[in-house]
C-alpha cells in the first residue's frame, strides 16, 4: 500500500471538501425555502396554484438531476437573451448553476416530503385545536406544523443525505469539489481505485455526521415516543377522581 500517495490524495481532497459542503449547505437552504413555498402551494386549495406546484414537483422529480444541471449550465447559455439578462452574472458561474439546479431539484422532493408530513397530522388533534377557538395561523404554528415536522423529519434526513451525494454532479459542470478533484488526480496518476476510495471515505464521514445529527434532532423532538418519565413524586396525589377521594360512587 502506497501510504504517501494515499496521504497526498487525501490532503488534496480534504482541501476541496469545503466546496462540497458549501454546495450542500446552499442547496439545502435554498431548497428548503423552495420546498416550503411549493408545499404551501400544493396544499393551498387554490386549484391553479396547486396544479402549478404539482407540475413543479413532477418535472423536478421526474427528470434526471444530471440533465437538469446540464440544461441550466450548458443549455440556457445558448440563448442570447439569457446572456444579456440580469441573471447572467449568476448563471455563467458553474458553482452558482450547480447550487441552483440542486436546490430546484431538492425543493421538489422536499415539498412532497413535507406534504406527506402534513397529511399525517391526525385530524382529531386539529379538531381539538379548532374546538378551543384557535385561529387558523395559531393552529398551524402550534399544532399542525410541529406534528408535521416530526412526521417528515426521517424522510427529510434521507433527502439531505442524498443531496450530499448529489453534489458530486457539480463536477460535471466544472466545479472542483471532491469528485471533480478526484477525477483530476486520476487523470494524471491513473490510480482510479485508491483515489475514488479516498473520495468515498470523505462522503461517508460527512454523511455519518449528518445522519447522527439528524437522529439526535429526532430524539430531541420526540420525547412523547419514548418511555414514561419518572413519576413526579413531589406532586400531591389527591383529587376527585383518585381512589379514596371523598366523592360518592355513582348509583347504578
Amino acid at each position: 500500500m502506497d501510504l504517501p500517495f494515499l496521504a497526498d490524495t487525501m490532503g488534496q481532497l480534504l482541501a476541496v471538501t469545503p466546496v462540497t459542503l458549501e454546495l450542500w449547505i446552499l442547496c439545502i437552504a435554498i431548497g428548503l425555502v423552495i420546498a416550503l413555498l411549493v408545499c404551501w402551494g400544493r396544499v393551498s386549495g387554490v386549484p391553479v396554484v396547486s396544479q402549478l406546484a404539482a407540475v413543479y414537483i413532477f418535472v423536478f422529480r421526474g427528470s434526471p438531476l444530471l440533465i437538469q444541471t446540464f440544461l441550466l449550465y450548458y443549455g440556457v447559455s445558448q440563448f442570447a437573451q439569457v446572456r444579456a439578462s440580469f441573471a447572467w452574472p449568476v448563471l455563467r458561474d458553474p458553482f452558482n448553476s450547480a447550487v441552483i439546479s440542486l436546490a430546484l431539484c431538492t425543493g421538489g422532493y422536499a415539498a412532497e416530503i413535507f406534504r406527506g408530513g402534513l397529511l399525517a397530522v391526525p385530524g382529531r388533534e386539529i379538531e381539538a385545536g379548532r374546538a378551543i377557538g384557535m385561529p387558523p395561523f395559531t393552529l398551524f404554528r402550534r399544532i399542525i406544523a410541529p406534528i408535521a415536522l416530526r412526521q417528515a423529519l426521517p424522510a427529510y434526513s434521507t433527502e439531505i443525505v442524498l443531496m450530499m451525494k448529489a453534489t458530486a454532479l457539480a463536477s460535471l459542470v466544472t466545479v472542483w469539489e471532491i469528485t471533480g478533484t478526484a477525477e483530476k488526480i486520476i487523470s494524471h496518476t491513473y490510480r482510479t481505485f485508491e483515489v475514488f476510495l479516498c473520495a468515498a471515505a470523505i462522503y461517508l464521514v460527512l454523511n455519518f455526521v449528518v445522519i447522527r445529527a439528524m437522529r439526535y434532532l429526532e430524539y430531541l423532538i420526540s420525547p412523547h415516543l419514548r418511555g414514561r418519565p419518572e413519576p413526579d413524586v413531589a406532586a400531591t396525589v389527591t383529587g376527585i377522581a383518585h381512589p379514596g377521594a371523598d366523592v360518592p360512587e355513582l348509583p347504578t
Binding site: 388533534e125 381539538a128 374546538a131 377557538g133 406534528i147 412523547h224 413526579d232 376527585i240 355513582l250
Partner: protein
C-alpha cells in the same frame, strides 16, 4: 355570574350529509347550571347536534346562540349556510369547552402543556398564572402527578381526565361532552364519570352526549332523547325514564339491556 336568558340556545338546527338528513330541526335552550344528558341510538344525530353547537359541523340551517350572542351565518354558494365571521366563531368556541370521545390530546405536548395551550396561546393570559391554574385543575381531576407525562403514557381514563382539565382551563361557559366514556375500557369509565359528576355538582352548564343511563338518570337534571333527527323526549330524568316517557324511549332503553 348571571346571564339573562339561556346560556345556550339552538333554533331549528338542520343538518344533512349527502342525501341523509341527520338533524331535522332541533331547538333547545340550556340554562345556567343545567346538566343535560343527550341520549339516542347510534346514528340518531346526537353527536352531530353537539358538533353543530361549536360549528365543527356547520348546520345547513338554524342558529346557535351562546350567552346571548348569536353566531352570524351567511348563505353558502351551492346551498346551506356558513359562518359569516370566522373570528366570531373562534371567540365563541373559547366559551364552549369540548371533550371528545377519543380525547384528542395533542400527542407532542405533555399533559401540562396540553392544559395551558389554550389559555396561553388563544386567550393570551400570563403563562405563570395559567400554569398555576392548570396544576390546580390537574389536581382536581386526580392526575397532578402525571403533568409531565405525554398522552401516550397515560391510560384512556387518565387521558380523558386530562382532556377535561384542558377544556376547563379555558373557563368555558358551557361544557360539551361527546360520548366521553365510550372509548374507555369498562373499568375506567367510573373515574371519568366521577369527574363529570363533580363538575355537575359545581353547577356547571353541561351538555353530555352519553350512553351511561346511570349518569343520565341520577346526575343530569334534564334528559333529551334524540330519535331519527328530532327530539322525541325532553324533561327531567323522572319524567323521561318514568311512566310518562315516550314509547320510543322505552324501546331504546329496553333494547340496551337485551
Amino acid at each position: 355570574m348571571s346571564v339573562a336568558g339561556p346560556a345556550l340556545s339552538l333554533r331549528d338546527i338542520r343538518k344533512s350529509f349527502a342525501e341523509m338528513e341527520v338533524l331535522k330541526g332541533i331547538s333547545l335552550d340550556a340554562f345556567e347550571g343545567d346538566v343535560i344528558s343527550i341520549l339516542g341510538a347510534s346514528g340518531s344525530g346526537k353527536s352531530t347536534l353537539l358538533r353543530c353547537i361549536n360549528m365543527l359541523e356547520v348546520p345547513d340551517s338554524g342558529t346557535v346562540t351562546v350567552a346571548g350572542e348569536t353566531i352570524r351565518m351567511k348563505p353558502r354558494r351551492g346551498g346551506g349556510q356558513e359562518p359569516a365571521d370566522g373570528r366570531q366563531v373562534d371567540r365563541i368556541r373559547t366559551e364552549l369547552g369540548m371533550v371528545f370521545q377519543s380525547f384528542n390530546l395533542w400527542s407532542h405536548m405533555t399533559i401540562l402543556q396540553n392544559v395551558i395551550e389554550g389559555p396561553v396561546h388563544v386567550l393570551h393570559r400570563p403563562r405563570a398564572e395559567c400554569i398555576a391554574e392548570a396544576e390546580a385543575l390537574l389536581e382536581k381531576v386526580g392526575i397532578a402527578d402525571k403533568r409531565n407525562f405525554y398522552p401516550a403514557h397515560l391510560s384512556g381514563g387518565q387521558q380523558q381526565r386530562a382532556a377535561i382539565a384542558r377544556a376547563l382551563a379555558m373557563r368555558p361557559k358551557v361544557m360539551l361532552f361527546d360520548e366521553p366514556t365510550s372509548a374507555l375500557d369498562p373499568e375506567l369509565v367510573g373515574e371519568v364519570l366521577r369527574v363529570l359528576r363533580a363538575l355537575a355538582e359545581e353547577g356547571r352548564t353541561m351538555l353530555v352526549v352519553t350512553h351511561e343511563m346511570g349518569f343520565a338518570r341520577h346526575v343530569s337534571n334534564r334528559v333529551i332523547f334524540v330519535n331519527q333527527g328530532v327530539i322525541d323526549a325532553d324533561g327531567t330524568p323522572d319524567e323521561v325514564f318514568g311512566e310518562g316517557g315516550t314509547e320510543r324511549f322505552r324501546q331504546f332503553v329496553s333494547g340496551l339491556h337485551v
